[in-house]
């Protein structure tokens, strides 16, 4: 919107108001960016948190080739051709990542995977994938973040460390802001933190609950029982590390609040119990609706991981871990999720989009990715261990800084981005659209069964 952009021709500076930071799932859309158009850098990011400042201010246009094959510079078209050939020739191609790019680009990817009969998975599988599975089993009472700001008088964080992972979650949405029915901000809310570690987050708590590691499910189930009127066991402290008095107090506070919310993090999904933990938490929130209005929400990590979930769901019916080898989408976490397909050594081509599994996957998965059994294709905005290990590596421009598009905040609210300055690198949308068209053509030429013409 031009009204928000003021050109100042004297110093060739541009101010962008209400820009969105896509570093984390908070997607704060109130950042004022000062851009030096000559140097192509952002000099100020007003209102951004420490992570957001690092995201915006460290972004420089690096002098690197757009595309490389085995480390040698090539043209973008050559790289796309090689990637398309690798994907079409592979017996078990996988596509992974997607959480750090715009929905418009994500929407190009499912048709590619449909054409190659491959597997698509997003970073959700190693993030809140278990919560997605729990959602399929239990459902979820939920809300947009503005409801929390306006109404929540009971706010609980479970197994998350927003003070470090989502720094403005407290101030923008959940703890300190004054809302429609919360005129005094934090004073009108009870804030409870449940974690095994006493993190920076614990500092804001009215009540800090230190649960024994790996005992989240037990504590959730005891709370659930207590909400339903089942006596809290005498040995609850021995089991969970939390005193019986505290459990009873928590249950009373939860049942008697006006609008309660629980945010939960990967302290639940990555630890013992995984989707059972998320499911127990969603069931607890559901049960509480017999007494009051109660909601829960996973605190999602990357800028647009929520968008990836949504896009893959509307195009295939399933949120992640989807395989097309039979000519229709099938969902099976553990079978078609990336850690598994790599650890078992199944994938013979892997296209990694806006993600860096070589840096953070389990070692056996990394070993397979880097081995010559797997053609690795990387499309990323930065040089990473993954891009450096890739057979085909394409460097793209950065969403929210160089390109516009749509992202979904952790509460499924879609937001349009306001790019700050141009980049010599192509956008993900451009690269993936070209690749989609090329793969579609190749699939037809190879007379693969069911080659399609795309209407998009």
């Amino acid at each position: 919107m031009s009204s928000a952009i003021k050109d100042n021709s004297i110093v060739n500076e541009k101010i962008i108001e209400d820009a969105t930071c896509t570093f984390c799932g908070c997607c704060c859309d109130d950042i004022t960016l000062t851009v030096d158009l000559d140097k192509k850098v952002i000099t100020k990011a007003k209102d951004a948190c420490v992570l957001g400042k690092a995201w915006f201010l460290n972004h420089v246009i690096e002098d690197k080739p757009i595309a490389r094959i085995d480390g040698k510079e090539v043209t973008l078209d050559e790289a796309i051709e090689e990637a398309a050939q690798n994907l079409i020739d592979a017996k078990f191609p996988i596509v992974y990542g997607l959480s750090d790019t715009i929905c418009e680009a994500q929407r190009q990817v499912v048709p590619i995977v449909d054409d190659i009969g491959g597997t698509i998975d997003t970073t959700t599988s190693v993030c809140h994938g278990p919560s997605g599975m729990a959602f399929q089993g239990v459902g979820e009472p939920s809300m947009t973040l503005g409801e929390v700001k306006n109404r929540a008088d009971f706010v609980m964080y479970w197994g998350g460390n927003p003070a470090e992972a989502h720094p403005r979650h407290f101030s923008r949405y959940a703890v300190t802001p004054k809302g429609m029915f919360i005129p005094n901000g934090k004073d009108d809310r009870t804030v409870v933190i449940v974690d095994v570690r006493q993190t920076k987050t614990a500092g804001v708590a009215d009540i800090f609950v230190q649960v024994k590691p790996g005992k989240d499910f037990e504590l959730l189930w005891i709370l659930r029982g207590a909400v339903k009127g089942i006596e809290v066991p005498e040995n609850v402290e021995e089991i969970t590390g939390v005193s019986r008095e505290l459990v009873i107090d928590l249950v009373n506070k939860m049942k008697n609040c006006k609008y309660g919310v629980i945010f939960f993090g990967m302290g639940l999904t990555m630890t013992r119990g995984r989707h059972f933990n998320s499911g127990a938490l969603m069931a607890l929130a559901t049960d509480l609706n017999e007494f009051t209005h109660f909601v829960a929400k996973p605190a999602r990590g990357h800028g647009n991981v929520t968008g990836a979930d949504n896009v893959v769901s509307w195009q295939t019916g399933y949120p992640f871990g989807v395989n097309f080898s039979r000519g229709y989408p099938r969902f099976n976490p553990g079978e078609f999720t990336t850690v598994d397909t790599l650890t078992r050594g199944e994938a013979d081509a892997a296209m990694i989009i806006a993600s860096d599994p070589v840096a953070n996957f389990p070692k056996p998965a990394i070993d397979h990715l880097k081995s010559d059994k797997c053609k690795l294709i990387s499309i990323d905005t930065k040089q990473t261990p993954t891009s450096e290990a890739a057979h085909v590596s394409i460097q793209t421009s950065t969403y929210g800084i160089n390109t516009g598009g749509t992202v979904y905040r952790m509460d499924d609210v879609p937001i349009s981005l306001r790019p700050a300055f141009d980049s010599p690198f192509p956008g993900d949308l451009e690269v993936l659209t070209k690749l989609r068209k090329r793969v579609n053509k190749l699939a037809k030429e190879k007379n693969r069964p069911y080659a399609t013409s795309k209407y998009i």
Partner: protein, 122 residues
Amino acid sequence: MLIPGRSAKQGTSLNKGKLKDEYKKITSILEVNSDDMVRLGLDTGDQVKLSNEVGETIVSVKGMREGKLPVGCAFIPYGPPSSCLMSGETCGSGMPQSKHMMVQIELVKKVEKEVKKVEPAN
């Protein structure tokens, strides 16, 4: 028991580039409860080897004030070292057990006395 996680410093450093030293350094610092530090005879800055059935890695330790971490728990920001210890088994969920991993800690190199300026953080 090891708990890898995110931290603000890990987050800011990865924006600067995962191939830069800052990221590598931050993801190689293990936070250990002060009681465990005493029990294991460790000082902040010591190099230790973490190992389990998946692999091993060498990191430096940092003592944490009592109460911040439960006894027997250590924390490390996500990064290449934590990956070395992570099993690919997801138990059919797609999610490796990336928190709550059992590891062994062994001292490999004492921090040199004259360099040791950093006291255990309080």
